[in-house]
Amino acid sequence: MTTRIAERHAGSQIGTLLAETGLGADRDLWQRRLEQVTAEDVEAALQSKPGSYSIDRLLALVSPAAEDYVEQMAQQSQRLTIQRFGRTIRLYAPLYLSNYCVNSCQYCGFNRDSKFDRVRLTIEQALAEADVIASEGFSDILLVSSEDRESMTMEYFTELAARLRGKFSFIAAEVYQMTSDEYATLFAAGIEGVTLYQETYNRDTYSRYHTGGPKSDYDMRLRGPDDMARAGMREIGLGVLLGLANWRLEALALAEHAHYLIRRYWQSHVSFSFPRLRPAPQVDTVKFKHLLSDRELVQMILALRLCFADAGLVLSTREPAGLRDHLVRLGITKLSAGSRTNPGGYSGRGKATEQFRVDDSRTPAQVASMLRKQGLEPIWKDWDRGFSQP
């Protein structure tokens, strides 16, 4: 089976590519291909160039047939990760700024129809939160906000970034989707990475869960990472919300997206996050049919590492401590720690509703100590604002 999709579509947009390959909507073809993968195909994939991507290779590694090869995949993933990243794990902390939202994502506790006391932080309040984060040792901070353009304005972000620059060597954002010009403004202000989850690459599923607000436009969402890269962002974070659709097909589409971005914007570094749908105060997880087991999550992480040797693989505190402790040895390169997912949560002022339940509630120091016990160096600083700021 030779598909050579990337070659055929080298000139087209990601949306076209996903539509034409069927990874965006009509996915029966890929479901069949997954089921047809044999043990021999998996073994061939394991023996071919470790760390390099082809859709056929990933197809084999995320297939049901590869479930019997998870241990071998883990060993290869560990070897590759140590070679490319060393025995190190980067640490970062999210700073939640606002949970006001105009979108109605059906899986999110912050969706516009949820009734709870919403909070948005003033710049001063956000800085107080950042002080706590910095005092815990962090130098890498992720600004998080729901779609609240009214108060989370460009002026807000640029002023906040300017005042955070002295304390943090790397500032990234996971906020509502912006235009390329707006991303360029963020970049100039010192926000050098952006994460934007497609949530799901299945167009129908996407429509079902995003029923209102600007985020309901699937095609617009898909163009976001192009806009970040054009704005010069150094780090581009991709991901799907695991649990919305068949994870094996999501992994294939996600990888096609990453491969497309890497070839087209060769100066931006792509990373993958693995948010699994978790219980949230306003959300009942029972209605989701595609929730991942630990074993499936691990298979997905390993498969992506075996295809993208140099991609950052990020794991948040959504995941339980025990699982995180294992995954740091299997390919994960970046962890959050001590996270508060409610605006105001660090300085203790806010009793605001959290976006999701934090499952690893250890302090950053405890996470760092866990890493050291496993022979891994916790890395707090892996960038320098001197690169771009005088």
Binding site: F85, G86, R87, T88, H269, D384, G386
Partner: protein, 257 residues
Amino acid sequence: MDKLVIADREFDSRLLVGTGKFASSEIMAAAVEESGAEIVTVALRRVDIGNPQDDMLGAIDRDKYLLLPNTSGARDAEEAIRLSKLARAATGINWVKLEVTPDPYYLLPDPVETLKAAEVLVADGFVVLPYINADPVLAKKLEDAGTATVMPLGSPIGSNQGLKTRSALQIIIETSNVPVVVDAGLGLPSHASEALELGADAVLVNTAIATAADPVKMASAFRCAVEAGRKAYEAGPRAGTTKANASSPLTGFLRNQ
């Protein structure tokens, strides 16, 4: 063994080491010690260069080692220059390992921006050690620009593939008037030996030591390999041939005359 001389400074060791990818600062410090290296490079992105309390910097005794800051991660000349100046202002160190690596995957050096940055930094009084692809013409241009060394790669950084650029390295070694330090891609002590045997003045090793099961022992192995390679070079190795040449098939008839 001859001494290595870079920018009028003498060194006994011809092994330079990097400080990334180690499991802890303690293991890094022990490996550096065992390597016998006198020049230790550290990524400015990783350390808080102005802060003596920094974990990694604290583990390197600056009286014993020449700390060589590198600009790894810089996407263009402007970023590399800015970072170099900040580092010098914070530490007084005017040596810099110039790395301009715009692609975040293979971290291959940008020849155009590297040359541009080197010209500016040399004019500003820096001792510049540029990381380059094994490009003999670029090496000469950098030498003309006044860099203290050239540091061509053996193969892509972190790849452990050894001297894939061997034939270009040979030209650089043959034509260079500044020390040639083979940087990047050396995965085994034998690769380091090979570089020194070819006539490289020194090598820089990081990943192969840091990611070994026993980094301290691997550091020692590289130290031995570099010494052996240099001794072999000084001893004047004879070129190898594929056949023994005891007989004289073309002129043997003359013996009977």
